[in-house]
């Protein structure tokens, strides 16, 4: 056991100190977090107040008033207050806390930071005879202050009343400066659109307010009816992604560590160190030590990514979407799937002389790893299907599939989970047992890698 642990500790050190591991496994999540933080920080930086004029050429004379109203600072402030009210009603408590921690004192304050100061837009009504070419030139003028032209809106003559004989209406053209804040541009578009609609309603003898009511159907949240009572469905997209996330957690840790196991085995074989090691430890001790070492490496990967996921979910108050027990089962399923794949990869590593030769042998192993990746969608949509049930019982894919089922909206009964665990551990035992035999023979053989039939013979004879 002592020698096994010594082999394991070297394996851990030799893996986690490689550039590939540090960059690929540890630095990547750090970079992701850093970029998220930088992007959000950048968003929280207050944008400077936009000041300037919006020129409007309105031959109908029915739109300009609405636009002026819409773009007035008072209207801006009112709209934001209404938005805040809506956000406040739906915002998870933790996000509110986080937002306030970012330096903002109140939510409207935070919104101000996020959206920038209310722009100061001066509307300039152009005469119908105005020269469009000249007015456009004003968009190029280099000047600051209230008379700096930001946009030119040209309402089509038939925008409010259609020409006789055609049911369609005209619209408008919008000319803007080369660099205009996208939010301001969007506000101008909304202002013009709303104003044209209101003018059209008015022209048709309708009350614009009434039309607003007629066209407003809010987006509703569905209510789940469960044995425990009714509950509002929350974060549906996230909930749908959770099964995939859990499967991916195991996938990434098993994939990373078992690949490393194969690589270090090939290195030991090709650099001819294997025989030196075998004079000090038995093949079983060597393989056990290597697998144990990579088990710890995989566990590190699993913990890093799981920790990141949990922190992210905690930040958005979505932790309630995960049952605490699922974390326990996650580790159990990691255990069985890791040992199965690690043993197979160790056997492959022992059979070949270089990575290139391993490609054909690891293909079937990789294919089984890919099955749950391809099938997670149908499985998580219908976790009770015969295919889902069967795959959640067949090692080595059972661990992945069972996790998808467990984290879906209709988890399987507990007896199925435990049956899958027992079958998975049985599969892992069989994989380790047969791989140990291949490992022992393969490690000392050089030359042409064996085919599957030869490997089967080794299992039978060793």
């Amino acid at each position: 056991m002592k020698k096994t642990l010594q082999v394991a500790s070297r394996e851990i050190l030799a893996t986690i100190t490689t550039k590939g591991f540090i960059i690929g496994v540890l630095i990547t999540p750090v970079i992701i977090i850093a970029s998220v933080l930088i992007v959000s920080k950048a968003h929280l930086e207050s944008t400077p107040r936009v000041v300037g004029e919006v020129a409007i050429l309105d031959p109908t004379s029915e739109v300009v008033e609405g636009v002026a109203k819409f773009l007035s600072p008072a209207a801006f402030a009112l709209r934001r207050a209404q938005d805040m009210e809506l956000v406040e009603k739906n915002l998870p408590a933790s996000v509110r806390t986080l937002t306030l921690q970012s330096g903002a004192q109140t939510l409207p304050d935070a919104a101000k930071k996020l959206l920038g100061e209310v722009p100061e837009l001066h509307l300039r009504k152009l005469a119908e005879t105005a020269d469009l070419k000249e007015e456009k030139q004003a968009l190029l003028a280099k000047q600051e202050g209230p008379s700096r032209r930001l946009a030119l809106v040209v309402i089509h003559p038939d925008a409010v009343r259609h020409t006789a004989g055609t049911p369609e209406f005209g619209a408008y053209d919008l000319y803007v400066r080369e660099k205009l804040d996208t939010q301001v541009e969007a506000e101008i578009k909304t202002a013009v659109r709303e104003s044209i609609l209101a003018a059209r309603a008015k022209a048709s003898g309708m009350d614009p307010k009434q039309m607003e009511y007629l066209t407003d159907v809010p987006w509703v949240q569905s209510t789940r009816v469960t044995q425990q009572g009714e509950q509002k469905a929350q974060h549906e997209v996230v909930a749908a992604l959770i099964p995939f996330a859990f499967m991916f957690l195991i996938f990434i840790s098993v994939m990373t560590s078992s690949q490393y196991l194969m690589t270090t085995t090939i290195e030991e074989k090709s650099s001819r160190i294997a025989e030196v090691l075998l004079s000090a430890v038995s093949p079983m001790e060597l393989m056990a030590g290597k697998i144990l070492g990579q088990f710890v490496v995989g566990l590190m990967v699993l913990l890093v990514y799981l920790g990141l996921g949990l922190v992210a979910m905690m930040s958005f108050a979505m932790l309630g979407l995960i049952d605490g027990w699922i974390i326990f089962f996650l580790f159990i399923f990691y255990l069985s799937s890791f040992f199965t794949y690690a043993a197979l990869m160790a056997a492959v590593g022992a059979c070949v002389n270089e990575i290139r030769e391993a490609q054909s042998l690891i293909m079937p192993v990789m294919l089984t790893l890919m099955v749950p990746m391809f099938l997670w969608m149908p499985i998580s949509r219908d976790p009770g299907s015969t295919m889902a049930l069967a795959l959640s019982m067949i090692p080595p894919v059972n661990s992945f599939v069972m996790l998808i089922r467990m984290t879906s909206n209709t988890p399987p009964p507990l007896w199925q989970v435990w049956t899958s665990i027992v079958l998975g551990l049985g599969g892992a035992y069989a994989a380790v047992w047969s791989s140990a035999k291949i490992f022992r023979v393969g490690l000392l053989l050089h030359g042409k890698p064996p085919d599957f039939r030869t490997m089967l013979r080794w299992i039978r004879m060793a």
Binding site: K3, Q6, V7, R10, A14, E267, E268, S271, R272, I273, A274, E275, V276, L277, L278, S279, A280, V281, S282, L444, H446
Partner: protein
């Protein structure tokens, strides 16, 4: 004398090939035993079976009173024919790792590793990566890894291959020293002259079968010298006069000297007297048969009818490398 290694009827086959066949072997404790034979004779397979890296199809192996080397691994130092290092590992870390696997205490390694490195002219390499060393230096590092645990039994597979003459000489001295410390040493080689120079016992193997297992003294006693090197005092002396001597079968000229081959069973002392009396000698020397000669003699005698001696000699001299 107790035996460090005992093999009884050991057989190993790979597919149709009999690598080792019914091999009986005893290596007395404290001996320095050469395991010789041409490439492909079965030396490495036998050594791997002794080390329990391979397992025999038939027969029993006892190593240091255990039925398997696995039970006595920490007491055995093994240098395989195919040497290896962790290329990216530093020399010091590599030696400490192998030392730990062999159960050597960390405190002892702290003093031992620099001592060994200094002794094999490897000062200052402890912090270097193994891949940065020359091939010869790497071989020395591997040798240190083998000796670090002060093993009771030292098994070296082709230890002289790839060494320069200076390193060969220092390895030879090292092996003698280890033997004097009480270590039993078994080393395989296809360079028979090396074994002749160093061993007190020789085991010869050919095509998986043992063909000779004797002490060097015993071999010398058993295999009579059959030729005499002769250099006449007078270079113009008539060498044809030797043909009249009954003990001499053939005369061959080698530059200024002559090799006088004796008839089988000829009395050496009498032949020497007769030679000296026939032509005045500047040099007269008994030429002992080399292990290679003996090997060829044994194998030729046992070989199928019409076996080609030159071919067997070629096998014995065998090229470097390849697994036996």
């Amino acid at each position: 004398m107790q035996s460090a290694v005992v093999l009884k009827g050991v057989t190993k086959t790979f597919g149709d090939k009999h690598a080792v066949e019914a091999l009986d072997l005893e290596i007395p404790q404290g001996s320095l035993c050469g395991f010789i034979g041409p490439n492909g004779a079965g030396k490495t397979t036998t050594i791997r079976m002794i080390m329990s890296i391979l397992f025999p199809d038939q027969g029993e192996i006892t190593v240091l009173d255990h039925s398997s080397a696995l039970e006595a691994k920490d007491r055995i130092g093994y240098l395989p024919e195919e040497r290896g290092l962790y290329r990216k590992m530093k020399v010091g870390a590599f030696l400490r790792y192998l030392g730990r696997l062999k159960g050597v205490a960390s405190a002892r390694m702290k003093s031992q590793i620099p001592n060994w490195l200094a002794r094999l002219d490897l000062e200052g390499v402890e912090g270097k990566r193994c891949e940065d060393l020359s091939k010869g230096m790497q071989q020395k590092v591997q040798l240190i890894a083998t000796l670090l645990s002060e093993p009771e039994l030292l098994i070296l597979d082709e230890p002289f291959t790839g060494l320069d003459p200076v390193s060969t000489r220092s390895l030879r001295a090292l092996l003698v020293e280890e033997q004097q410390r009480g270590t039993t040493i078994l080393f395989s080689t296809h360079m028979m002259a090396e074994a002749e120079l160093l061993c007190d016992r020789v085991v010869m193997i050919h095509q998986g079968r043992k063909v000779l297992d004797q002490s060097i003294a015993g071999i010398r006693a058993q295999y009579d010298p059959r030729s005499v090197l002769f250099e006449p005092l007078d270079p113009s002396a008539d060498m044809a006069r030797f043909q009249a001597l009954p003990s001499i079968s053939r005369i061959e000229r080698h530059n200024d000297a002559y090799e006088l081959r004796l008839h089988e069973g000829a009395d050496l002392a009498r032949a020497m007297r007769d030679i000296a009396a026939t032509v005045a000698p500047a040099m007269l020397q008994v030429e002992r048969p080399s292990l290679e000669d003996i090997f060829v003699q044994i194998v030729t005698a046992g070989a199928r009818e019409g076996a080609d001696e030159a071919e067997i000699r070629g096998q014995a001299a065998g090229a470097n490398g390849g697994r036996s």
